[in-house]
């Protein structure tokens, strides 16, 4: 028995002139999954979403919704919902009419439309605002109307194109939690496009990281953070990362410009990079019990609240270390101080260099 996928993309290609916006993308998105497409601007994530919606026609490849090939089916015949980046609420309709639009298109009876709109307004917490005009709503409320309008039609998939981009930080953080709750409640597949890794990490079951129209990695937030598939993913995800290029010497041992680094894995061959997350690195005058130990000089110490970020010069390479813990905050190594930097071998991961 094969698993049910709500959306499948098979070898999808989309070109705009000479630019390949989406380059042979393959994706299988599970039923009721919160799936994010994450990447820098211009990576093809929005185009991929628009191809799923049918707003862009792929030049090659197949789009399936619940196993059914919809590549040649126009948007309005696909049962999808979409929340647009700038919301695209109808300015000539009030809240009720906006939300009811999709139901009217499905020719539901009036009473049922009223009931459905009421139900969805409760879910997005906008009860009593039915008769407001769109321009009488705050940004957050407009966001909810857009969400309600897309959800009320019970779409097979809900597509969200950076919907929180326009909101300020506090409301955005609140809406992230809310979105995730709503997704659990309505039990629908959410496909969420964003360039903001915090949004993707906070809400997603799985994330696809894109660059130059290609999928770099698909995985759960923990997976893409701790086991990035290449140097691009490693540096894109997380606040900071140390990447040191080198060559495999023998199993789990990489020869770098810093010298030999002991690592946990040994699958790769030839030119590789070693990834060390800054929070897994110890920094002190004297360190014991680590596999990799280097001497360096502190270049900068930046107090970031819950941790201190050190930039340590090790043989000409800048190494980033995040020092957590209350007991350390009182003791900051000033720039110029000689320190030892070290980590265990299972904190350094061998990853392929992104070509």
């Amino acid at each position: 028995m094969s698993e049910v996928y709500s959306v499948e993309l098979e070898n999808v290609v989309k070109r705009f002139g000479s630019v390949v916006a989406v380059d042979h993308v393959n994706l299988k998105i599970r039923e009721n999954e919160f799936f994010s497409l994450l990447g820098p601007s211009g990576c093809g994530k929005t185009t991929t979403l628009r191809i799923i919606a049918g707003l862009e026609e792929p030049d090659e490849g197949i789009v399936k919704l619940y196993g059914k090939d919809v590549t040649d089916i126009p948007t309005y015949k696909r049962n999808i919902g979409m929340v647009f980046q700038h919301l695209a609420l109808f300015p000539h309709m009030n809240v009720f009419e906006n939300i009811a639009f999709g139901l009217k298109m499905r020719k539901l009876p009036r009473e049922e439309i009223k009931r459905e709109v009421k139900r969805i307004l409760e879910i997005v917490k906008l009860e009593g605002l039915e008769n407001r005009r769109i321009n009488q709503l705050s940004g957050g409320q407009q966001q909810r109307v857009a969400l309600a309008r897309a959800l009320v039609i019970n779409p097979e998939v809900l597509l969200l194109d950076e919907p929180l981009g326009a909101l300020d930080l506090k409301i955005r953080q609140h809406m992230m939690v809310e979105l995730k709750n709503i997704q659990k409640r309505v039990k629908t597949t959410f496909i969420y496009v964003t360039h903001d890794q915090t949004e993707a990490m906070t809400m997603s079951d799985r994330i696809a990281i894109m660059k130059d129209g290609r999928i770099q990695q698909v995985g759960a937030p923990l997976e893409v953070y701790y086991k990035p598939s290449n140097t691009f993913v490693a540096s894109f995800i997380g606040e900071a990362v140390n990447l040191i290029e080198g060559e495999i010497k023998e199993n789990g041992i990489v020869d770098t410009s810093l010298g030999v680094i002991y690592c946990s894995e040994q699958s790769a061959k030839g030119k590789v990079a070693v990834m060390i997350r800054p929070e897994n690195v110890e920094i002190d005058e004297k360190i014991d019990g680590v596999d990799n130990l280097f001497k360096g000089i502190v270049q900068a110490a930046i107090f970031k609240g819950s941790y201190i970020e050190y930039r340590v010069d090790i043989q000409g390479i800048t190494f980033i270390v995040h020092k957590h813990g209350e007991e350390n905050l009182g003791k900051i190594y000033p720039p110029g101080a000689t320190v030892e930097v070290g980590w265990k071998k299972n904190s350094s991961l061998i990853i392929p260099v992104q070509s």
């Binding site: 919606a53 948007t75 309005y76 919902g81 979409m82 695209a88 300015p91 000539h92 639009f101 309008r149």
Partner: protein
């Protein structure tokens, strides 16, 4: 600080003074060339100017009652409405697709399309109309070709008919419909149409439920820009129509310039202005408000 500086500072600080200074020149212009003549027409219509061009203060409705007792007046009013109505309708039906096409379908060089559309209107209105007369004539280029190809056996007669008046009107007023419509459709957020399609609306319903209602302000602007001048049109019926195609403008012209009866002419003008004004107010109240509210 000199007096000039004090004055300038006062003006700069005081918004109402600024506005007054800006509005004075156009108000003077309008007063001399519009309000004063309009007042004179009003005085004539109420019989407050005598044949010696002296103002008398004995207003009377005698000229109005003469106009209203004239049985032909309602027919002329209706014909003016009919011509202007058909004209505005045809301009809308022809102009909307043009504006829609340029705004929605043309990706590059939209300005070129608009300029191509406007270029004919750089030619004087009269020259354009005379050119049209050449095309509508019995001995026109089209008739000659159709006759020589034996597609028709007698020339098609268009000149001096209602069709000629309407054709020339549409030709002359079309641009006044297309430009406001285009300006309006250009502002329309195209993702609204995408949003409608994600909600299950096909092209037809998207047009009817989203595009059309949102283009109401453009339709309204185009309607007023075409309807108001064309209902008072008198050059076109004069040139390409005949006495049987006369509109109110022609009658007013005849009364002033032919019969030289400025009193009745003024009364007819005032009645006509009141009539059009009330129509426009009804129109804005009815169709307009929703459109204007956006």
């Amino acid at each position: 600080m000199g007096l000039m500086d004090v004055l300038l500072k006062y003006v700069r600080k005081n918004v109402s003074v600024k506005v007054a200074l800006l509005l004075t020149p156009p108000l003077i212009f309008l007063a001399v060339w519009f309000y004063a003549p309009f007042l004179i027409v009003g005085l004539y219509s109420f019989d407050m100017i005598n044949i010696y061009r002296e103002i008398t203060f004995t207003p009377s409705l005698v000229h109005y009652s003469r106009v209203l007792s004239w049985t032909g007046a309602s027919g002329i009013f209706l014909r003016s409405l009919y011509f202007a109505g058909i004209n505005v309708l045809l301009c809308l039906l022809l102009g909307y697709p043009v504006a829609y096409y340029i705004s929605f379908k043309v990706k590059k060089y939209k300005d070129v399309y608009i300029i191509l559309f406007i270029i004919p209107f750089w030619v004087s209105f009269l020259i354009r109309t005379y050119a049209m007369m050449g095309l509508l004539d019995e001995r026109s280029f089209f008739n000659t070709i159709l006759l020589s190809l034996a597609i028709i056996d007698s020339p098609i007669k268009i000149m001096y008919t209602d069709v000629a008046v309407i054709l020339v009107m549409v030709y002359n007023y079309l641009v006044m419909m297309v430009l406001p419509l285009y300006a309006n459709l250009e502002k329309l957020d195209k993702t609204l149409l995408e949003a409608a399609s994600t909600l299950g609306a096909g092209p037809v319903r998207t047009f009817l439920k989203v595009t059309l209602p949102l283009s109401m302000p453009g339709i309204m602007a185009g309607f007023l820009l075409v309807f108001i001048p064309s209902v008072g049109e008198f050059v076109i019926p004069e040139l390409v129509g005949g006495p049987s195609n006369y509109m109110v403008g022609n009658i007013i012209y005849e009364i002033f310039m032919g019969a030289r009866h400025w009193w009745v002419g003024s009364a007819l003008s005032m009645l006509f202005i009141a009539f059009i004004l009330s129509l426009v107010i009804i129109y804005i109240r009815g169709v307009g408000e929703r459109g204007l509210a956006i």
